[in-house]
Symmetry: C3
Subunit: 394 residues, 3 copies
């Protein structure tokens, strides 16, 4: 039974063109081909089934999986550790506070020094606009150079665990949840998704989740509506990408300043707070100059701004407006739940409780998405490797 | 030789009723049946022998062992890491300072998020009276719920690494030491143990060790004497449990305010400092309200109180009063040794030096006790599994 | 091909007398025999080749590799983690801030408590003159005692990850780089090496690298010149050792206060900053007494002293003076590069850029050197074990 299901998935994977995946890192979903995106979903599903059936997907006998977290994290930290462990790697954190890595030391040197026996590097760097993705590319280029010059025996797989532009492990986990929930990626075509800003009493939440959502969901043929109060726009480049994908797919990309409008007849809703792009830009400048006073000012202003929109809460009234009143609610967690984790937040307790288990299910895909990204970066013939692993397990 | 010894232990294990162990966590020894307690001892002994004879007890191909330490720890941290590693798991610490886990985030969500590929969770939470055990049960209930709702593929084994009520991994390690020292659990019947308070210049040591000791040792048929200065009583519930067990066993449970009386003719002495229950209750309140000034006051008062009892020191004069002057000295380490780690402490240098190696031996059982708890929680047929592991090693 | 190369190395290893290596730790290169030093180089080369050819050198099924870092570290931390992982061990850090280990607790107790299932312990302790090596020996003696008394089933391999006297994993990695660069250890005989102080705007860099260099390189038959400004001498004991080795080998050991003189006709240059021995002694005293003011004074004085020697920079003019203007440049990294990591530093940007990749190559040997030290400490018949591992991989 499992054999047959696995076999079907592996056959589908074998038909995808994954030949360049072992040569490039997974930083932004829009840099990947359709087949490559699909291969990650299929590989994650295969890995999940293998584990659930005690078939070891351990492809490494030894090796480190380095993690660099420039922002706090529980979910992503545990997902990365789980993915690394599943494939046979040991996590070694590069804690820049514990280490000699100062600004003066070149990224290139550090990248090489931590990589001699390393098979994967995961980075979370989402605090500064214009920085996270740039930093990851710098690390990637350094690794390429060191590898090409014979200084590294193997080129570590890099995984973007969240940057200023995209949050691919989150969004692909969210989307794999959609695929399995709606019974196949083909069923996502024509679905209407509302990616909406929601009120939160906290401040400075990154833009990468909504940006990741509109760019990937538009690509899979969904009608995307982006809703936020005026002034809370995303990085324009990412909105343009979503628009382009919708045009290609003959689907629609709409922007609105009304949460209600976005929810109207939606199949899927993703209500989540974020900081306005303009605030993030100012914040980046202030952080760079170390302007503590300016940062406090900005936070005050921003929270005051947010406070105008406390009615941007995903509640039962709004949910009633969705398709059959039963759109699927998504969240990357933790959600700011009104009356639970804060006085007034992104979602009412009633709505969240109804969807709680589904959001946990959504989160459960992340370790497998991360493992899939590493697997595809390191295995030239992923389907052949899977067949070998299954054979070995018998 | 080893084969025969192992075979005997495995046969004994196979005769114990362990059928519910894979369904419940190991939080308090008094919640476990006699067979279940015995199974942990047997399994720990089997694991120790296997390792010492290079027979791999690795039952997991991959998986995380999460640790949550709400109090500092060296011994327990290393014991847990050793146990996890022995069985094939990788330790991942949940550091609540590094993570997004604030008080607002529900325990249930966190429990689920860290458990998607997790096989064990160990928690140490002994600072607040009325909290540690409650918290562990909350995590356990959350895991059950998530598992029952299909959100987790496997239910992680939870291990109590010390709570406000009990310290089962410590006390069972202490007791396995007694079993091996006295040549069998049956030889512990009728032995007289003195669980005695002892003076320490530090303050606020948890109650879980003496509580764990009197409840488990009374159960195994020992005559238990609990000695402490007036006002230094344990949580009444645990004293009642010890009394009940003694009654069942026809052994005695005595309380005294004289260390000397407790030592009189004792086979085993466990002199160790702890904070009075009433102080711990006050402290819990003050910690909850964040009353820094009150905490300093309380510490001052408590240390002044302790200072009345500096003569509660386990020294050679006292040891002479024990059975043949040679009772076995127990300590969970580190001990406050007079003239070594402090001016005046729990035990004189002479006494400690005489028993030093034996206390190290006592400590050496802890990794195996922890591994045994995980093993029994995860393996439905432990003896069958052991036989398989031994077969595979050949 | 690889088989033949590996076979040759293993045969060479089998002819070395390594019989005492499983009984002693690797603390100071000058405590090891010539064969033992050579065995580390050979074993490191074998391990590197095995990994690069997917032959698993995993000798442990489970077990901890404890690390104790009393100073910050990225390179050494990652090298140790890589080495441990390569051999099958899980790293467990002993963080003395997180743990109960205070000064009052004896080293012996801690050593035993962390070692019940531990196969390796790596320590970095280079801050205090007269302390690091002494501390390591104390730990080693404690482990021996615990092992001999039957408290530990296995004696963990200890590795000196840098002490006040020597930095053997660094220097042996540097030297293995030389061996492979010059085509064999026999080709190092008669080579002229300049171990030179260089200017750095930072302060208090340890002496262990230059001390390690002059003692090991003199031993391998090189002509060693130690250059530094007046007053920047090393611990006299180590200079005496270098002198003795040169005498034995008929090579020369020179001291000079001129960087230029040292570079004259050198085959190898190692320009690196360090703090004068006398300053380190004073600093040790001040740190011990916690004299914050004195420490600030000392730093100010020392930096003012350094500032007299900003011309001690390894630049192209100086490099032209070396053998054919093309001596091999060594550095343990990170280097203070003028105009890059600081205004004025140990090496000019031009020189560093020319040798950058070679310094990365130099660093790449460290994980294998550490793994070799553990391997040789734990395997009584290293060559036989290697043959078994190769057989198993087929």
């Amino acid at each position: 039974m499992i054999d047959k299901e696995l076999q079907t998935l592996i056959e589908k994977l074998s038909k995808l063109n994954t030949s360049s995946m072992s040569e490039k890192d997974f930083f932004l979903t829009w840099e990947q081909s359709d087949d490559e995106i699909d291969a990650v979903f299929k590989t994650a599903d295969i890995l999940k089934r293998m584990r659930e059936n005690n078939i070891s997907p351990r492809i490494f006998d030894s090796g480190l999986a380095v993690s660099i977290f420039r922002d706090n994290s529980t979910r992503t930290r545990f997902s990365y550790a789980s993915a690394a462990n599943l494939l046979g790697l040991a996590v070694q954190e590069l804690d820049e506070k514990k280490s000699q890595i100062a600004h003066g030391e070149t990224v290139r040197e550090t990248a090489c020094m931590i990589s001699f026996l390393t098979e994967a590097i995961g980075i979370r760097d989402d605090m500064y606009i214009g920085e996270g993705h740039t930093y990851m590319k710098e690390v990637a280029d350094s690794l390429d150079q060191c590898y090409n010059e014979g200084l590294l025996h193997s080129r570590p797989a890099m995984v973007n665990l969240q940057c200023d532009l995209d949050h691919p492990t989150q969004i692909m986990a969210d989307t794999l949840h959609l695929i399995n929930h709606f019974g196949g990626v083909e069923n996502l075509k024509g679905k209407k998704v509302a990616m909406s800003w929601a009120y939160s009493p906290s401040y400075g939440k990154p833009l990468s989740v909504p940006q990741g959502a509109i760019t990937l969901m538009s690509r899979l043929g969904m009608d995307v509506t982006l809703a936020h109060p005026e002034g809370y726009g995303l990085i324009p480049e990412t909105e343009a990408i979503a628009e382009k994908f919708c045009k290609q797919n003959g689907s629609t990309f709409k922007k609105t300043n009304s949460m209600k409008e976005a929810f109207e007849n939606a199949d899927i809703v993703y209500p989540k707070s974020w900081a306005p792009f303009s605030v993030m830009q100012k914040r980046t400048e202030l952080l760079k100059t170390g302007d503590e006073k300016g940062l406090i000012e900005l936070e005050k202003d921003c929270l005051a701004g947010n406070a105008n929109y406390t009615d941007w809460e995903c509640n039962e009234d709004l949910m009633k407006k969705t398709k059959n009143g039963s759109a699927l609610y998504l969240h990357c967690l933790p959600a700011d739940i009104s009356g639970v984790s804060c006085k007034q937040g992104e979602v009412s307790e009633q709505v969240f409780n109804k969807y709680r288990n589904l959001t946990y299910k959504e989160a459960s895909y992340k370790p497998y998405i991360i493992a899939a990204m590493i697997f595809l970066r390191k295995m030239k013939n992923p389907s052949v490797k899977f067949e070998e692993l299954i054979r070995l397990s018998k």
